[in-house]
């Protein structure tokens, strides 16, 4: 029965993916993409990757949807059509893509057992980190440098988005009001959901040390709640020149860096933790990162500033 469920899910995923490619309307294609993301969360659960399922559900649902649907609504007026490829070239492209699919499928079928794995090593050293979740141990202890640099990449992407602001809105406010016109029911929703969302985000960040979850998932939930209150007009979007906002953005990576350099003096090296305090340090870094990730992802979805702050 489990195999039948997997096959059903795979057929649905591939069908929806194909539909997204062929459907005419851009807005509908975007909606199908969000639906695809929500279904992918179930696929990750089937692959025993609950941490990834949480990330996919958090990022793939709300936040990507807001970003892409806002863009689709903006582009409606503009002539963004471009030129269509001629029919023979389309056929050639289809054949080549099918060949790539077939060779990847062959790779997937021909992989041999026993598969290479780092799981035993990850479990062996888990005690030293004080964590119970091996994925969190990989993210914050074994491969902490990757996670640190990823945070820097997020900030660089935000700098890139901001640098696309028109001159008149330089240091201004991102505009979210084009996506949904404010209404009383939306405002009500934006007052009901965030308390639950914030509790859930804290729970996600806290439980990430020993169960699936962590700073990325918690931070994304916080970002979604922030976007909701801004879209409903309950809270105003901040000006990107706000000093507090900028401190929030760098708080997580900064604490991570400080802890990393402290490791040079009190532990084995850069980004190494003294075993006695490992868990406390990691949880502190995760908490700061969750706040920074929330601010960064929320502002990435909000887009470049578009107008000056009203006085």
């Amino acid at each position: 029965m489990a195999a039948a469920f997997d096959i059903g899910l795979i057929v649905l995923l591939v069908g929806i993916g194909a539909w997204m490619i062929v459907v005419r309307d851009v807005v509908v294609a975007t909606i199908i993409f969000v639906v695809f993301g929500l279904l992918m969360a179930i696929a990750w659960v089937r692959l025993s990757a609950v941490d990834v399922a949480l990330t996919e559900a958090a990022i793939g649902s709300g936040i990507t949807g807001t970003l892409l649907l806002g863009a689709a609504a903006r582009l409606k007026g503009a002539d963004a059509g471009g030129t269509r490829l001629s029919f023979p070239i389309t056929v050639v492209a289809a054949v080549l893509c099918a060949m790539i699919s077939a060779s990847l499928a062959a790779v997937a079928l021909l992989l041999t057992y026993p598969a290479p794995t780092l799981a035993p090593m990850a479990m062996q050293n888990l005690d030293q980190t004080g964590l119970g979740n091996p994925v969190a141990a990989v993210l914050f202890a074994y491969r902490a440098l990757d996670t640190l640099l990823e945070k820097v990449v997020l900030l660089l992407a935000l700098v890139g988005v901001w640098s696309l602001a028109p001159d008149r809105a330089w240091r201004g406010v991102p505009s979210l009001d084009t996506t949904v016109p404010p209404s009383d029911i939306l405002a009500f929703f934006a007052q009901i959901l965030p308390p639950f969302g914030i509790v859930f985000a804290i729970y996600m960040t806290w439980t990430g040390a020993s169960n699936p979850g962590g700073a990325f998932q918690g931070g994304t939930v916080l970002a979604v709640m922030w976007l909701l209150v801004m879209m409903a007009g309950v809270m105003r979007a901040p000006s990107i020149s706000n000093v507090w906002l900028r401190w929030l953005l760098v708080a997580g990576p900064a604490l991570f860096l400080i802890v990393g350099f402290t490791g040079v003096f009190i532990a084995d090296g850069f980004l190494a933790y003294p075993p006695a305090y490992a868990k406390a340090l990691i949880v502190a870094v995760e908490a700061a990162l969750a706040v920074s990730i929330a601010a960064t992802l929320g502002l990435l979805a909000a887009g470049p500033p578009e107008r000056m702050q009203q006085k």
């Binding site: 069908g15 399922a53 949480l54 559900a57 709300g62 806002g70 949904v180 016109p181 939306l186 909701l228």
Partner: protein, 94 residues
Amino acid sequence: MPEFLFGAALFILGTIAVGLVRILYSRQAADCMMAAQLIGTGGVAILLLLAVATDTPPIVDVALMLALLAAFASVAFVGGLQGKASAQAEDHRK
């Protein structure tokens, strides 16, 4: 018991698939807005069934995440389609 739970999950997946085809194939924009709601209930039911069937309690957290955020996706859908839907409603009245 797991066999039955997987069967139920597959069954609900089938109803979601039919519902998705109906909603997304519709010409009316308002139908598309329901897509996230459909996954928000059916997908959550599937995840709960899988959590018990595979004896993995953390999957319930994924269900919680989906229930919380599918609602937000719906808000985004309504925003993206609103102009189109009201235009269609006008046409309908004429």
